[in-house]
């Protein structure tokens, strides 16, 4: 009797909360998402962050400018070279010294290699999140070659600390150019494989196309930068708009998409890999001669009094470094505007009305790195 009445009235479901994370494999680290659900439909996503907060900004207030560089490796560890570069460029601009052309070109090549390796890892992990473990192994196979290139020149595979204020730590290794050229030739044959494996796969397409649409207006108002914002048509590439290092002399396209769904965010990164390879190809054969460390930078760096800002394009978007200096050897206050933080908080907006499985796909294409969000 009761059951019949319930059917007559229409079955009422109750909304409930569920935690995704902090130990969920698809949150790529210790991130907790509180989901308000109706059945399997998402009503609200509340990100809870802070599990890997190391108070990097506060720590930097006691560090010298040389020491700050090595801490930035630990924010967005997949964009390590770019993070280093942001602090170094800020110090160089504040001191009004220039670096040699050689350093500029080396930095640009390193940044683009980092972007490639970051996107390779993202591609592998994205496939894994959607249940295709194969792609994970393929992505890591090609990333390994870049890691070896880094290891030979910089001495580390993840925490590089290769850029220093006024230059770079070591000159490039004699094998560097050959290795990079070999890698580009190798990866040009492997990148179409990525498309065969995942991009054209019918299951993958059905799970990503038309899911989690982010309009251009929303991308701008949420401050979504990087490939995530460019997939919605928001032109925000710092390399184009405020060129630094050697980006003003290379020819590359800013990848812009229109739809802003999960698939176009995926596609934007895939196309960006081709652009990165083209940038490296343009530079690798003509690295100019020059000193690798500017002699104008003293052992103890003191920035003049004032406020300074520098932004660079990391693999995830715009990283901004803002320093208030009181003229001593450490900053009075330093603030990192990290791309992951802004990008994460759009999740609630785009995930409403979709299923949990779609949320996993969206989170992958937003490409979050939790230490970058928490700092």
């Amino acid at each position: 009797m009761i059951a019949e009445e319930a059917i007559k009235e229409g079955i009422k479901t109750q909304e409930y909360f569920i935690n995704m994370g902090p130990q969920h494999p698809s949150t790529h680290g210790v991130l907790r998402l509180m989901l308000e659900l109706d059945g399997e439909i998402i009503k609200k996503v509340i990100p809870h962050i802070g599990y890997v907060h190391r108070s990097i900004e506060k720590m930097c207030e006691k560090d010298t400018y040389r020491q700050i560089v090595h801490v930035t490796d630990r924010m967005d560890y997949l964009s390590n070279h770019m993070n280093n570069e942001a602090v170094c460029l800020l110090v160089e601009n504040a001191l009004e010294i220039g670096v040699s052309e050689r350093v500029k070109v080396i930095r640009t090549i390193m940044s683009e290699l980092t972007r490639l390796s970051s996107h390779q890892l993202w591609w592998g992990v994205m496939g894994m999140d959607l249940g295709a473990l194969t792609s994970f192994l393929y992505g890591f196979r090609d990333r390994e070659i870049i890691n070896d290139i880094f290891e030979e020149t910089c001495g580390a595979r993840l925490t590089m600390n290769y850029n220093t204020p006024g230059g770079v730590m070591f000159d490039i290794h004699p094998n560097f150019q050959k290795r990079v050229k070999d890698f580009i030739a190798h990866f040009k044959t492997k990148l179409p494989e990525y498309d065969d494996l995942l991009s054209d796969n019918v299951i993958f397409r059905n799970r990503t196309e038309g899911i989690g649409i982010l309009s251009k207006e929303d991308a701008i108002s949420y401050g979504i930068t990087g490939p995530t914002g460019r997939a919605s048509g928001f032109s925000n590439d710092i390399r184009k708009h405020k060129p630094y290092s050697a980006y003003d002399r290379v020819d590359f396209k800013e990848i812009l998409m229109e739809t802003g769904d999960t698939y176009s965010r995926y596609k934007a990164r895939m196309l960006e890999m081709w652009e990165s390879m083209s940038i490296i190809e343009q530079l690798i054969d003509n690295i100019p001669e020059g000193e690798i460390q500017s002699s104008a930078v003293k052992a103890v760096i003191k920035l003049p009094k004032g406020e300074f800002f520098q932004s660079v394009e990391t693999a995830r978007g715009e990283l901004g470094v803002y320093v208030v200096s009181d003229g001593t050897k450490s900053p009075y206050r330093i603030k990192f505007r990290s791309p992951g933080f802004s990008n994460l908080f759009v999740l609630d907006h785009i995930a409403k009305g979709y299923k949990i499985a779609d949320l996993v796909a969206m989170m992958s294409t937003i490409d979050i790195v939790v230490p970058d969000i928490d700092r």
């Binding site: 020491q67 390994e144 030979e152 910089c154 001495g155 065969d196 494996l197 299951i203």
Partner: protein
């Protein structure tokens, strides 16, 4: 009619894309020997060589006379971002001239705190320390990771201080 055509078209398209992907994995399955890139790590220990610049641990090279080139100037201690280096020095009389001078007593290095950032190596004016390439540092006791870099009985090489 149209709906049925689309239905079958979708199915065949789906199967085709799946086969395209399987062609890639199939290639690697049949060419496993040629395309293999992984290493058999603990087995290849004897032949495994790290890159020269690989940063594994801070070491202080000594020559055959048990001499090093550390003057005890503390530049590395100041450069270190996390206090991994502690320099203990004393003032001793020089046996020849009789003048008192600063001599390194212990160069204490806490490997457990070190982030391998290379800043101390760059800061050292006499190139007394450098990065070693060993990487198997797991121990059962945290104390083992605190090392004294200058060997017992060692002294500074002649001519370094000038």
């Amino acid at each position: 009619m149209n709906a049925i055509t689309t239905y079958f078209k979708d199915i065949f398209h789906g199967i085709k894309t799946l086969l395209t992907g399987m062609k890639v994995t199939g290639y690697y399955f049949t060419h496993a020997r040629k395309e293999i890139i992984t290493q058999q790590y603990p087995e290849n220990r004897d032949t495994l060589k790290m890159f020269d610049r690989f940063r594994g641990v801070v070491i202080m090279p000594h020559d055959e006379n048990n001499e090093h080139s550390c003057t005890g100037c503390s530049a590395c201690e100041l450069a270190c971002p996390n206090g991994s280096i502690e320099i203990m020095w004393e003032r001793l009389a020089d046996p020849e001239t009789g003048k008192k001078k600063k001599v390194i007593e212990k160069h204490v290095y806490h490997h457990s705190m070190c982030t391998l950032c290379n800043l101390c190596i760059i800061a050292c004016p006499t190139d007394a320390i450098k990065m070693g390439q060993s990487f198997e540092h797991a121990t059962f006791d945290r104390k083992d990771l605190t090392m004294v870099l200058n060997k017992p009985g060692s002294k500074i090489r002649k001519g370094v201080e000038e």
